[in-house]
Amino acid sequence: MSNLMTNYYEAAAVILFGIGFMNLLLAKNLIKKFIGLNIMDTAVYLFLAAKGYITARAAPIIAQGTAARVEDYINPVPSGLVLTGIVVSVSVTAFSLALVQRLYKHYGSLDLDEIMKKAKKEEKV
């Protein structure tokens, strides 16, 4: 329990990941499904950002004229991973939403069950 309290960022990230994962898996509404995807990805970024931060240290930007000491800065690699991850997640979200739009134009619904029903009917015809 005390571990959870000290690592509350990580605990929150894992809970959010679970919420996002289940939403992506189970939500019937397509928009909600992809909101789930975003919650899931953002949870991972929170986790990485929390892991990279070291208390009382600054961002690793070296100003001219100051001596660069490694003890003064946080770990920059997780920040880099988060940025890359955000780019990936934005492109996946954009693609998914474009797909949802195409589906809505074709079937006139955002509900997955209804779409599947209509698609089955179409296949039979």
Partner: protein, 499 residues
């Protein structure tokens, strides 16, 4: 610069060439030019991979290639050995043949005006698959897993019909679940080990295992990563996304899906086993047993579903699910021989299933677009090459001697000797699955070759398709007879991965 230095650039250059092709294609105008350029570029990458393979196989060595200016613990790296080069060669070969064989279906199925964009996606797909083969960095692997997903989703929905969009959505959601698990897995792994390169992670893991720290966390992390990749590679019970995508896509796309895309994920799993976690750790955590059980279930359930199916494309998709089960069963045996058999089956299935998809496309075309197996009656007489290809492919899937499928099943059976506690169940399931394979391939072959007198007006099979299927058949038989050098390459490759 010496010849060795040039050869070490091949992995990077292959990936670069594939992505460069994707950038150039949109300005090439129409689909036909794009396809010709695509054939040239894929062939060039294939030849480069063959040179790399021969070089590494003769010297029995592997190397890492530094990307950019920063050395090992900081920078990004590629790694190449005989197994990687062999897979790259196989992927290029199968992709070139599949796209050539399926070119007429592409022109018919893909929306007009979008055909060069289809090839852009093919390039991105090839680039991402090559990166998954060669990369030595787990975060790069994640990024290219997502590129792979998006590119392949665009390829499935290229037909533009309602059902293809539904199938794309299905595939996308399952793939995103898989990559989400993989992402949280590698983030946790990074937070424990502090590294992103596979070798450094492995070193850190070996140290931590000795001290006994984080034992529980490791089990969770390994589970998340391996399950994430397995979900993406359509292991049972996630094979439904494969079935829906397979049945709506144009024949060339379905050939590429079950022949290549899933295989690149499976190879990433193998790399995780050997280069990140070590096979001993995987075995001691019983991950291999989990994969073994799902593999066996996939073999039986996939084959039974294929047996019940009356539409040829769905039947091939369920058969793919069963074959993916074979590969996971091989991985699950957890010994060196099982791994070799699984790698050989990756190649054998890639060649066979891509050919079957193209042949099925040809047979459906020869039956006025009917997909039911009953309505394919006599299609083999109307499209002779596709009929012969389908029969040879079916025999290879069943595991008849002289075909590639026989060799992989032989090696699977031999590998069980080294895992005595799994021997009986594996051999039994292999036998059941082979009988089921025969039960659905032989009736469809009989239907194709049964005589019919009505003369329907159908288009003549294209020459490109005849050549492609001809080469596929030759490859299949060659792999079934001269398998010894391929097995040797795989064995050396796995030993190098392990060391």
């Amino acid at each position: 610069m010496t010849a060795v230095n040039y050869i070490q650039n091949i992995p990077f250059f292959s990936i670069f060439l594939a992505i460069f092709g994707g950038i150039v294609t949109p300005v090439l105008g129409n689909g036909k030019t794009a396809q010709k350029v695509n054939l040239v570029i894929v062939t060039v990458i294939g030849i480069l991979s063959a040179v790399l393979l021969v070089h590494l196989w003769q010297r029995e060595e592997s190397f890492t290639f530094m990307m950019g200016r920063f050395p090992a613990p900081w920078g990004n790296e590629l790694r190449a050995g005989p197994l990687e080069a062999l897979l790259a060669l196989c992927f290029c070969l199968v992709m070139a043949l599949t796209l050539t064989g399926g070119s007429r279906f592409l022109q018919k199925d893909v929306l007009p005006g979008k055909q060069n964009l289809y090839f852009t996606m093919i390039y991105l797909l090839l680039g991402s698959m090559l990166t998954l083969i060669y990369t030595n960095d787990i975060f790069t692997a994640y990024v290219f897993l997502e590129i792979n997903t998006i590119a392949f989703c665009a390829i499935i929905m290229a037909k533009g019909s309602g059902e293809s969009i539904v199938a794309t959505l299905h595939y996308l959601v399952i793939c995103l679940l898989g990559s989400g698990l993989f992402l949280i897995g590698i983030s946790l792994l990074y937070s424990i080990t502090g590294h992103l390169l596979m070798e450094n992670i492995q070193q850190a893991i070996l140290d931590l295992v000795q001290t006994g720290e984080y034992a529980f966390v490791f089990a969770v992390v390994i589970g998340m990563i391996i399950i994430g990749i397995s979900v993406k590679s359509a292991v049972f019970p996630f094979h439904f996304m494969l079935v829906s995508a397979h049945s709506v896509a144009t024949p060339a796309s379905s050939g590429i899906l079950s022949g290549l895309v899933l295989k690149s994920f499976i190879f990433l799993n193998i790399k995780m086993f050997y280069c990140v976690f070590t096979i001993d750790l995987i075995r001691s955590l019983k991950i291999t047993n989990v994969l073994f059980v799902f593999g066996l279930m996939g073999m039986v359930v996939g084959s039974i579903s294929a047996l019940k199916e009356r539409r040829i494309k769905h039947m091939l998709a369920y058969s793919s699910a069963a074959q993916i089960g074979y590969i996971y069963m091989g991985l699950g045996l957890g010994n060196h021989e099982g791994m070799v058999a699984a790698c050989f089956h990756i190649l054998a299935h890639a060649i066979t299933k891509a050919m079957l998809c193209i042949c099925a496309g040809g047979l459906i075309e020869a039956s006025e677009g009917n997909v039911g197996i009953n309505s394919l009656r006599g299609a083999g007489h109307r499209n002779l090459v596709a009929g012969i290809g389908f029969t040879v492919g079916g025999l290879s899937m069943i595991g008849i001697p002289l075909t590639a499928g026989f060799i992989s099943k032989l090696y699977f059976a031999t590998a069980t000797i080294y895992s005595p506690q799994k021997m009986v169940i594996t051999l039994l399931t292999l036998a059941i699955s082979m009988i089921l394979n025969a039960m659905y391939f032989i009736p469809s072959a009989i239907a194709i070759w049964s005589p019919v007198d009505k003369k329907a007006k159908i288009p003549k099979p294209s020459r490109a398709m005849q050549y492609a299927i001809g080469i596929f058949i030759v490859l299949n038989v060659v792999l079934g007879i001269y398998y010894a050098p391929i097995i040797d390459m795989i064995e050396i490759g796995i030993q190098l991965l392990e060391s």
